[in-house]
């Protein structure tokens, strides 16, 4: 097996020393208003509340294409305490569409998204990776910013003042490595909201503008989840109020009714991080999914195991024994995953496009990313079998229970419970199994760039697993792959409570401290309230948020046609979707677990093992039989979903990994073009539904929303692409590409590639010679 080139990964892993000074305040006075420059006077940074300009330089060129400078944009490069901003009046060439964020401009990169800063001096042939608080002995002619979201952005300083250019580079390198969590921009940003007028303050205190996603930071939300899943033998436990027991557990969590608070308190000290078992979810058959840290003291292990298992068993209606699944032993660890990710990034965006073509497949395999995706999906499917097939409760055990457990537990619930495949359900799942369960987002994202060994894209791995499921069952999910991509990008915008902290306690502590040190009036709040990422209006307009909605979704309440009759889907085991009906009978073969017993076709010895039928019984494990039985039936999109795990059926998530690669863009093509047509149809149907409702609701409706004669507000419509006129099948718009809604233009500028992408790949046809080739050429 060919492994990816490790040495070439070094670019990313070189990390400078720790920064030595700490403070963004007082702001360095390079205020724009004081230095008006006549020619470019309108080039002003758009700043958010709490955002300040640190340094800036004029007459900078942003590189657009790798090989020529003709499309480059002229403008000003600014470093603030939040982002690297490039302001220009020039319009981007070639670009027909880009998703716009409310927090970031077209060319902006949040500092938290910076992976590495490289400065170059062409004349001297020098290149340096810049870290915080470092010196630079040459004047840079070029700045290359490698981003965590796979972008590579390049700026040239040929016409810029050399000193200011150097200063900006140093500032960027310094400010993207905050020395303290409270220097993350979110604190200033959220703090400012409390300091502002009362109107602003509402914004800050609000739980997110009518947000429907439960945050699981209060007992009532856990109670509701217990009721929803029918987990009658489980209760909300508040022994960790004020984080009295465990710093990394949430204040409220769910435990078996039979375990008393007193016992739990007593057990807690034996668990890693005092993390007593947490309930995740209940199957309708009564089996429960539980997550648990390992027991530190081996002497206590058996006793504790027994007590915990007893408690869980008592909460099972059939008193079935709980099964334990040790994740540390079966799944890759965080270093493995990080390594795979770094190799994959290398292959996808760093290596020159054409050179990596020939070995593309084996390189992807060598990165092991897909292998890990498959491992997590497979393990989760096994857990599903235990819960559904064996009707047993399952305990997921991991050392701390804050990493691999998050992935497995969320995937299991996603496969078993259609609620989590709705948008709100999915968000509540991430909130419950990641944010509240104490996934170390701050460490895993490496927001402080302090400890590279802790960095791990576990959440992205989870999103990739979700994407694989979505790719296999596109109509089962309410949200789109654009949603998953935008969600993962939001990790690098350090203002959301979701991805900023290692656990709720850290969130509470830092924001309390920050408020105190800045004398921020918190009012009734105990701490600063960061907006959760689920408050999407922070980032996008309602219209843009419509890109999250899948037109295919067959959800609860969504209508669907079954055998010609319009039906409304309800959650029910018997309700098969007509989608997968009618498998050809010739294909209803069973499957056999291990088939090595069959000799290859080409072997000369055509002998069969006599005992094949017995072998079948032996080779097929119960879980395999369970999967086989499931696959032989039509899939119920509102019921259990199992992933197809053959390696041939797992794909690279192209939108995420290749969206910035210009050569990989399919102009006016890709899955989005079919999605576009689907959206138009779904929108038309929604409009018809509204009209039908108006009829059914009787004559002139009193509510203003349905005032006759007015067209519905675009905000009310679920689809991003709107039907213009019925029965008019428009062709896909010009701006649709396989990268939509993202655009590679100016977002991936590798250095030193000659030739235009098209000519590159056209002439890149490789020749491999073999003697056979020459001999066999037809004449």
């Amino acid at each position: 097996m060919q492994l990816a080139n490790h040495s070439s990964c070094k670019m990313f892993s070189v990390k400078p020393l720790k920064p030595t000074f700490k403070s963004y305040l007082p702001p360095l006075q390079t205020d724009l208003k004081k230095s008006p420059q006549p020619t470019i006077k309108k080039l002003e940074a758009k700043l958010l509340p709490g955002e300040i300009v640190v340094n800036e330089v004029n007459f900078v060129r942003k590189c657009i294409s790798a090989d020529s400078s003709k499309d480059d944009l002229w403008g000003k490069l600014i470093c603030t305490n939040f982002k690297i901003s490039f302001i220009t009046h020039d319009a981007l060439p070639l670009q027909k569409f880009q998703y716009r964020s409310r927090l970031l401009g077209e060319h902006d990169v949040p500092l938290a998204c910076v992976e590495q800063v490289v400065t170059v001096n062409d004349a001297k042939g020098k290149q340096k990776v810049l870290g915080s608080n470092q010196k630079l002995k040459f004047n840079p002619t070029e700045l290359i910013v490698y981003c965590k979201d796979f972008r590579i952005v390049r700026f040239r300083f040929d016409e810029a003042g050399p000193e200011s250019a150097k200063k900006v580079c140093l500032a960027i390198a310094h400010y993207c490595q905050p020395a303290d969590p409270q220097l993350l921009f979110g604190f200033e940003y959220v703090g400012k909201r409390y300091c502002g007028s009362s109107g602003d303050r509402v914004n800050g205190v609000d739980r997110g503008g009518g947000l429907q996603t439960p945050l699981f930071d209060r007992p009532s939300e856990w109670d509701r989840e217990i009721k929803r899943t029918g987990a009658s033998e489980w209760r909300v436990c508040s022994i960790n109020e004020g984080y009295a027991i465990s710093p990394s557990l949430p204040e409220y969590f769910v435990v078996p009714v039979s375990l008393a608070d007193q016992d739990l308190k007593q057990y807690s000290c034996f668990f890693t991080g005092q993390r007593v078992p947490l309930w995740c979810w209940n199957h309708s058959n009564g089996s429960a999914l539980v997550r648990m840290a390992s027991v530190r003291d081996p002497a206590q292990q058996r006793k504790l195991d027994q007590r915990i298992c007893n408690g869980i068993t008592k909460s099972h209606p059939k008193r079935s024994e709980a099964l334990k699944s040790d994740l540390d032993r079966t799944l890759p660890n965080i270093q493995d995953i990080q390594g795979a990710f770094v190799r994959l990034r290398q292959i996808c965006v760093i290596e020159p496009f054409e050179e990596s073509e020939e070995k593309w497949l084996s390189s992807i395999e060598g990165s092991r990313w897909l292998e890990y995706v498959r491992a997590f999906l497979k393990h989760s499917a096994e857990v599903v079998y235990m819960l559904e097939g064996k009707r047993a409760s399952v305990i997921l055990q991991e050392d701390e229970g804050r990493d691999l457990t998050c992935v497995v537990s969320s995937l299991v619930q996603l496969m078993l419970d259609p609620h989590f495949r709705s948008l709100t359900g999915f968000q509540s799942l991430v909130q419950k199994e990641w944010v509240m369960a104490g996934h170390r987002f701050m460490d895993r994202c490496n927001h402080l760039k302090k400890n590279d060994r802790e960095e791990c894209p576990l959440f992205l791995l989870f999103l990739d697993c979700v994407w694989q499921l979505m790719n296999q069952y596109p109509a089962a999910f309410e949200f789109t792959e654009t949603y998953l991509t935008v969600l993962s990008d939001s990790m690098w915008i350090p203002v959301f409570s979701t991805f900023l902290f290692n656990c709720p306690q850290q969130h509470a502590e830092h924001s309390r401290e920050f408020a105190q040190s800045k004398s921020i009036p918190l009012g009734e709040d105990k701490a600063l309230r960061f907006p959760p990422v689920w408050d999407w209006s922070q980032q996008f307009t309602l219209k843009d948020q419509a890109l999250f909605n899948s037109p295919l979704y067959v959800g609860k309440g969504a209508t669907c046609v079954q055998n010609g009759a319009v039906k409304t889907f309800r959650r029910s085991k018997k309700n098969y979707s007509s989608t997968l009906r009618g498998m050809p009978s010739s294909l209803r073969n069973g499957m056999l677990g291990d088939l090595d017993s069959l000799p290859r076709r080409n072997s000369l010895v055509l002998r069969l093992r006599p005992d094949l039928s017995q072998l079948r019984e032996a080779a097929e494990s119960p879980s395999e039989r369970f999967f086989r039985a499931w696959f032989s039936r039509p899939a119920d999109l509102q019921g259990l979903l199992l992933p197809q795990l053959l390696p041939s059926h797992l794909r690279l998530w192209r939108l995420y990994f290749l969206r910035w690669v210009p050569e990989a863009q399919i102009a006016r093509g890709g899955p989005i073009t079919a999605f576009h047509k689907l959206s138009l149809l779904a929108d038309e149907i929604e409009t018809l539904q509204r009209q039908l409702r108006q009829y059914k609701g009787g004559t002139p409706a009193p509510s203003p929303a349905s005032t006759p004669g007015t067209t519905p507000q675009p905000e009310q419509r679920r689809m991003y692409f709107k039907a213009s006129a019925p029965h008019d099948p428009p062709s896909p718009p010009e701006y649709l590409t396989s990268s939509f809604p993202f655009s590679p233009v100016g977002n991936l500028c590798r250095r030193s590639i000659l030739g235009t992408p098209l000519s590159k790949f056209l002439s890149g046809a490789k020749i491999w010679l073999s003697t056979e080739t020459l001999a066999n050429e037809t004449l």
Binding site: L587, G590, I666, L688
Partner: protein
């Protein structure tokens, strides 16, 4: 007496075989007559044996004898098989209890039915039953495995290799040479041409609303392209295949080239396959022309007529300063071909031309590549090193080279440069390149009917050697002429449909159906190597066209996402980043994969379409029933009717 019947059986078989060789077209009726008379002669005997069997007389319960009766009787009736109705013209030949060695479910007891068209198996005790339905045309090779003395329960049987990426194994009872008859029958009917029997396409009595043979008319297609014009003319020089026996009868050649010129050029092109027009750009008049390699040879021969002819082609459109000659082969292969009299257009000889090698490998490389692919997907998908195994088959890499070659052709044409495309003989890689480039350039070929025209024109009429490449009805499975060139082309088309889901009027189901009937021998469409042989065998009058099937029920082949865009050139991304293995074709036999007739997205779209129509209908009904009472209420500002409102909903993006 029993001995005599058995003897008779052998004689009849011999007579049948001998007669088939002489009088192929009379076989069906004659066959039936013989069997009828045999049946008649034997029927008293049948009663006799039945009576004897009651008495348990072992000697007379000879299984061969019984089978002889059964075969002769049942072939007269048109009984349906276990589940599947027989096709008109399809006849049962033999039934047998057998064990299917399913690679997924293990050994399955059941019954196999063999007809003159297919092998059908149904398991006896599985629920749901496992069935196999294999057209005999898809069989590549039938072998016996194990001997009567082999040990083990299931070690005596048949091994069948199929052309459609699967293998089948059957086990039989060891006693009584139970395998001999089924092997012989299978061997005979799977390879009818090797046994002097007709292909099933000549026996089929299927009837369709539309006659698919009319789906392509060369004249009509040329007219669609605006031809002939003042630069291009039709020549009937090949009317009776005297210019080139592997070309179609009607050819489009430069106006300025005389018939004499064409004859002279033919002497310098391999197998007389001269450059002729395949497609012309409607606006810039750049033309795709196709041919075979020039006969340059070791001595580097030149031919003034050929050189002048290519220059005439260049001049047909004013904007081509240099005619681009795309040689599909790798450079070294082109050089190697000189040794056998072939070669390529040298710089000195063809001054106004540029030669580009496209590095596409030959039929043997492609055959080996697909063989390797089969090894990693059937019966099991290689689990541990899937991607590197896939890479080592080079299948996708070959796809990439073919596609990027076609992109280069299309790119030249759209920028107004005429091109000549050839490989060695101009019937494999050349057909791939011209047809794919045409698919990129001309949206007509992306419609269901246009695609048929494309296949009929560039592949069938221009002599892609389907008979040699596929080996229809021929037992010689190791023939070096066999190669999956057409499969590879369809795979390229599939890759394009994946990259442009709205650009094609047809769907994946059409592509799979085309490939299934590439092998099945049920339709005449893909039979024989070229038009002249097809004419000699009267294919158009004696067989049915695949397009009859397709066009008589188009709905299942229509891509619901299709959005017609007339003037758009499609440039797929020929990169490993986007090319993927066509799992729904190559891995479709694996039961671990949920088999879907349609992609779930396609299916959902159709559901939504039905839903919309239902809502529209309901709304209409409501409006109708509402119109009177609503008029009374119309003082309220609800006057805008819902339908009107729909048209108002113009929200430009």
């Amino acid at each position: 007496m029993i001995e005599r019947v058995l003897e008779q059986e052998e004689v009849i078989t011999q007579v049948l075989a001998a007669d088939n060789k002489i009088n192929r077209h009379l076989v069906p009726t004659w066959h039936i007559d013989v069997l009828k008379s045999v049946d008649k002669a034997l029927s008293p005997l049948l009663e006799f044996t039945d009576a004897l069997s009651v008495q348990n007389t072992k000697k007379i319960r000879n299984r061969r004898l019984n089978r002889c009766f059964r075969a002769s009787r049942e072939s007269l009736k048109m009984e349906p098989l276990a589940d599947v109705p027989l096709l008109p013209g399809e006849e049962r030949v033999i039934d047998k209890d057998i064990i299917y060695m399913c690679p997924f479910s293990g050994a399955l007891k059941g019954k196999v039915f063999i007809t003159n068209y297919r092998l059908f198996f149904k398991s006896a005790d599985m629920d749901p039953a496992v069935t196999l339905n294999v057209p005999l045309g898809a069989i590549n090779r039938v072998e016996k495995m194990g001997g009567a003395s082999s040990r083990g329960e299931n070690s005596y049987g048949l091994d069948i290799t199929c052309k459609d990426v699967r293998n089948l194994r059957f086990a039989l009872k060891q006693e009584g040479h139970s395998r001999r008859d089924i092997f012989e029958i299978l061997f005979r009917y799977a390879f009818p041409l090797s046994h002097g029997l007709p292909l099933f396409a000549f026996l089929s009595q299927e009837k369709f609303e539309e006659n698919g043979w009319n789906s392509y008319s060369p004249m009509q297609e040329f007219r669609r392209q605006g031809l002939p014009n003042d630069k291009w003319r039709i020549t009937f020089l090949n009317q009776s295949y005297e210019l080139c026996d592997t070309y179609p009868t009607i050819l489009m050649v430069p106006y300025k080239a005389t018939e004499e010129d064409l004859r002279k050029v033919a002497t310098f092109r391999s197998r007389c396959r001269i450059p002729v027009l395949s497609w012309i750009h409607p606006d810039n008049l750049a033309a795709i022309t196709r041919c075979s390699q020039p006969l340059v040879g070791m001595s580097g021969k030149r031919n003034k007529d050929d050189e002048r002819y290519l220059d005439i082609i260049r001049e047909t459109n004013g904007t081509t300063s240099k005619l681009t000659i795309f040689d599909a082969r790798p450079n070294v292969n082109a050089v190697a071909n000189k040794a056998t009299g072939g070669g390529y257009e040298g710089d000195d000889a063809y001054q106004n031309a540029e030669l580009v090698f496209l590095d596409i490998h030959n039929i043997h490389v492609m055959r080996e590549s697909l063989k390797k692919l089969k090894d990693i997907v059937y019966p099991n998908v290689e689990e541990s090193h899937w991607l590197s195994s896939l890479e080592s088959t080079h299948w996708l890499e070959h796809i990439k080279l073919v596609l990027s070659g076609a992109i280069q052709v299309a790119d030249k044409i759209s920028s107004g440069n005429s091109v000549v495309v050839h490989c060695s003989d101009g019937w494999d890689r050349t057909a791939q390149l011209t047809s794919l480039a045409m698919l990129m350039l001309d949206s007509y070929y992306r419609t269901l009917r246009g695609f048929q025209v494309l296949l009929e024109k560039e592949w069938i009429s221009f002599g892609h050697k389907f008979a040699s490449r596929i080996g229809h009805g021929d037992k010689n499975h190791a023939d070096a002429d066999r190669s999956p060139i057409f499969v590879q082309f369809i795979d390229c088309v599939w890759q394009m449909t994946k990259q442009f889901p709205t650009a094609f009027e047809f769907n994946e189901h059409l592509l799979v159906t085309v490939l299934d009937h590439l092998y099945s021998c049920r339709y005449g469409t893909f039979l024989y190597n070229c038009e002249s042989v097809r004419d000699a065998n009267e294919v158009r009058t004696k067989t049915i066209s695949l397009w009859s099937l397709i066009n008589s029920d188009q709905t299942s082949y229509i891509n619901p996402f299709y959005a017609a865009e007339s003037s758009r050139v499609l440039y797929p991304v020929a990169s490993m980043r986007h090319l993927e293995l066509w799992v729904t074709y190559y891995i479709r036999w694996n039961p671990r994969i949920r088999q879907q007739q349609q992609s779930p997205v396609e299916q959902r779209y159709k559901e939504l379409l039905a839903l919309r129509d239902q809502y529209l209908k309901k709304l209409e009904e409501l409006q109708l029933s509402d119109s009177t009472p609503h008029l009374a209420n119309s003082t309220a500002p609800s006057s805008a009717s819902p339908t009107q409102r729909v048209t108002h909903l113009h929200t430009p993006f």
